[in-house]
Subunit: 257 residues, 2 copies
């Protein structure tokens, strides 16, 4: 059984990539799971943050999406045991243009994954801050979504379009993709807005808002700098234990679904 989970939110800079990195390290290190990461964002920060720099496009997800390479051929080891990554680079933006002209353009990644993920327990997909063909592919390939939310004004407004897209994938394409949970990131309790948005989300989302919250912390940036997930670089810090808690809460939800 392989769980495929896409981490997505159209709003930029809310901690999508940071969450993919730290949740995956927690799954691999703490829970001994075999994890594959996919970078569907042309910015390519996911691979870079794990010390993986593809020398060319043939070593990235773009080659697999275009049918030029097998998934296994574009999968790279990382310095974390049990954690592998399929990186991206700028050329992924060109692939988006190409894919958007084909029939069934949303379903390309799902068919790539159908041939190569049996060796993994969890596949986590990082997405760009936009709701275009690349994100459609990540959502369509996923069984579940995780939605990081930085508690700010309009955090909720921005989710409406995502819900609409899920609705259309169900009604038009017969694909039932569920949101496993939303979770708060970069939480800073000095901001009045944090409390207001937390209350608002609890009321609107109920169980849909995960209990674990990720605090804002200088440690995250330091971790990027040392090419190491903060759960490994500074495991005793509040932000690291928050990600470890979040990982456990997510696994509990997966097990009981």
């Amino acid at each position: 059984m392989t769980w495929v989970i896409a981490v997505t939110n159209q709003k930029g800079g809310v901690g999508k990539t940071t969450s993919v990195i730290n949740l995956s390290a927690a799954f691999a290190k703490r829970h001994g799971l075999r994890v594959l990461l996919l970078d569907m964002d042309p910015q390519g920060h996911l691979g870079l943050s794990l010390g993986v720099r593809p020398t060319g496009t043939a070593e990235t997800i773009a080659a697999a999406l275009m049918g030029l390479r097998d998934l296994r051929e574009v999968t790279h080891e990382t310095q974390v045991d049990g954690l592998r990554v399929v990186p991206s680079n700028e050329d992924l933006a060109a692939v988006e243009e190409q894919l958007s002209r084909q029939p069934g353009r949303e379903a390309v990644l799902r068919s790539v994954l159908s041939r190569g993920v049996h060796d993994y327990d969890v596949v986590l997909i990082d997405t760009p801050p936009s709701l275009g063909v690349l994100t459609f592919n990540a959502i369509y390939a996923a069984d579940y979504l995780l939605v990081p939310i930085q508690p700010r004004l309009y955090s909720i407004e921005g989710l409406r379009r995502l819900y609409k897209i899920l609705e259309l994938m169900r009604s038009r394409l017969g694909r039932r993709i569920e949101i496993l949970g939303h979770f708060l990131t970069m939480v800073d309790n000095r901001y009045k807005i944090t409390h207001e948005v937390r209350e608002d989300l609890r009321t609107r989302l109920g169980e849909g808002l995960l209990r674990s919250e990720i605090p804002s912390s200088v440690r995250v940036e330091e971790g990027h700098f040392y090419r190491s997930p903060v759960v490994m670089y500074a495991p005793e810090t509040p932000v690291a234990s928050a990600y470890l808690e979040l990982a456990s809460e997510i696994l509990q939800r997966l097990m009981s679904s």
Copy 2:
């Protein structure tokens, strides 16, 4: 003489929208300029942050891009004297799809502006966190670009593709668009990375890095909450004076170019 300036950076959450709001308020209030804001981001935060909520797509930039409305018909007053905004909504994403199939797809916004901006001194364009057709339109319509940068790892990597696009607009479309300047946002000097990136950018960009820096501050979020630019809501605070300084530095560069 109308200066058209696009504020852009593919990286999400670096302060593009916040900068457009505060620079425009500084231009209008401090310098008495007539300013028009355009929201080319389907998230629509620019209009919302200034208290402008379009009731339908016919009142947004999408209608002007599709040739259904005149620019004047989609321009809204704001509570700041001398500052008007053309808002967006989610439907702008659908317009991106439509535009991308037309010849000269990058040049649509520029032709819309050619018929309606003579009454303004400055036009500022907010862009989404992606380098797609909407951002191409904003860049192609602009005389200058401003690039906000949050000093983080890979801040510089992410700019490569933008420089490439400017290069292609010059060589293929004969459009010379210059970067008026890059500037640091959400600066927090507790982070070691801030100093490293600042030095690195100074070395690589030289004059291309504006002197004024925007500090990280709780006040920004409070301003959004009260639907007021921080330069008006809390003008004595460090972040407000930083934006006022940045606005002066930008105008000096424009005057001497």
